[in-house]
Symmetry: C2
Subunit: 265 residues, 2 copies
């Protein structure tokens, strides 16, 4: 039988393909507030060998100081070795922390993280103003830093076609990776997210990442890769969104499912 | 958040509720051909503590001798202890072995297995003639033996509404449990089966069992319970249908998923 889930385009960082393309990349967020807390968290997370470490810089207390952000990123980079760093400032509008800097400063931080080659991947929200999207896309292209264009809905799950359109829109806006994270109100919504992921993965030329959040959506974190999600977020030390599973358990579940698939009986 | 998958009606055997209602019952098939092979297989399977053992009697070489069937069932029963025995003669039409006895004799075997209390549950196919269905249902009711009315399609996955109708039809025909097993041609079909299971489980008053077969459908065996399937078939010693997972791996996957759900973060 022809299994279709192994042929998705991979996520690449500086020409290097991440993962084996058969199971999802595991992305582990850092949600510390202080330099010490973040460096401590990083050490804890790295011991669990995630494929990508995401710095959720909206949690960082010194986010308003570009110098502090760059200096901390440099210290993180020294510890990360070959593990790519994903730089994310999630807006409060899409489930992130309230921060005291304007969107121009957010764009400038992305630019600085790309130009210094401290960020290996950057996340920017699809919902931002077109000129900001263009600025971040331009700097990501100039510096060869892959850009995730992301969409989050912490309240509900849009209808199937609206969800597919979010992935399509991310590709159209120049994303290297399209990300959609939504909240289910029922198990029907979880199936809608998986169906949208599968349909979008059949249409898009770029890799995508999706998840249905919360307790109800946990299946999407464990098995969304079968339907075309190239990566899944797992807890290393602290969770950044509802429903995230511990990295060890995620790996065990993926291994069992992969073995079940490979049996091909 | 209100999790809906714990409120499904349980499968009961002689007034006793099987399982805790939170995770699916594990049914392990016996597919041996000879008395010795079947008794050996039973010992191996029982060591893995399934919730129900299914004797796929269509594999049994002596199926044409009612005396041999009853005698072997008696020897099995002595080893089974409190583990319920599900008696199944799968037709060749629905993926079973070719057997040399007529449908009347199949009905008589079901009757004998119910009357002797050797079968704790019986499976009969929804596709059988109405008068045969009625005969089996009558004897199952008289003897208080739960009846699974089952539907299998080893070639394809019917459309969503046709699948839901199979569950509804089983209930209408007097099933105590409705079972639907279909073959997916794509991952879309796997989602259709899960959606049909979820919708049917919201409508039916009886428990149901469903699966999408083969490598593509393996997720339904691991996680179909979240969508309302009360049981899943797993390999103890030998597989009876494509895509069945080993009982140990199934248990590990269920445990991880259940923990992920219970986190409720």
């Amino acid at each position: 039988m022809n299994v279709t889930w192994v042929s998705r385009p991979p996520i690449k960082v500086r020409g290097r393909v991440l993962g084996d393309g058969k199971v999802p990349l595991i992305i582990t967020p850092l949600v510390g507030k202080t330099t010490d807390a973040i460096l401590h968290e990083l050490a804890e997370v790295l011991a669990k060998r995630p494929d990508i470490v995401e710095w959720r810089a909206d949690f960082y207390a010194d986010i308003a100081s570009a110098g502090a952000v760059i200096e901390l990123a440099r210290r993180m980079k020294a510890k990360l070795g070959a593990t790519p760093l994903l730089f994310t400032i999630r807006s409060a509008r899409e489930g992130g922390q309230q921060i005291r800097i304007a969107e121009e400063a957010v764009v400038d931080l992305h630019a600085a993280m790309c130009r210094s080659a401290l960020a290996d991947i950057v996340d920017y929200e699809l919902g931002n103003a077109p000129e900001r999207l263009q600025q971040v896309r331009n700097v990501s292209r100039e510096t060869g830093t892959p850009l995730i264009l992301s969409y989050h809905d912490f309240q509900s799950t849009p209808a199937l076609n609206a969800l597919i359109e979010k992935f399509v829109q991310a590709e159209r806006e120049g994303a290297d990776v399209a990300k959609v994270a939504v909240m289910p109100a029922s198990l029907h919504d979880v199936l809608v997210l998986l169906q949208a992921t599968l349909s979008a993965s059949e249409r898009l030329r770029i890799p995508l990442i999706s998840m249905s959040m919360g307790s109800l959506g946990s299946l999407s974190r464990l098995a969304g890769w079968m339907f075309g999600s190239a990566a899944t977020f797992a807890v290393g030390a602290g969770s950044s969104a509802p429903g995230q599973v511990a990295i060890e358990e995620l790996r065990a579940a993926i291994e069992i499912a992969r073995k079940a698939i490979d049996t091909r009986t």
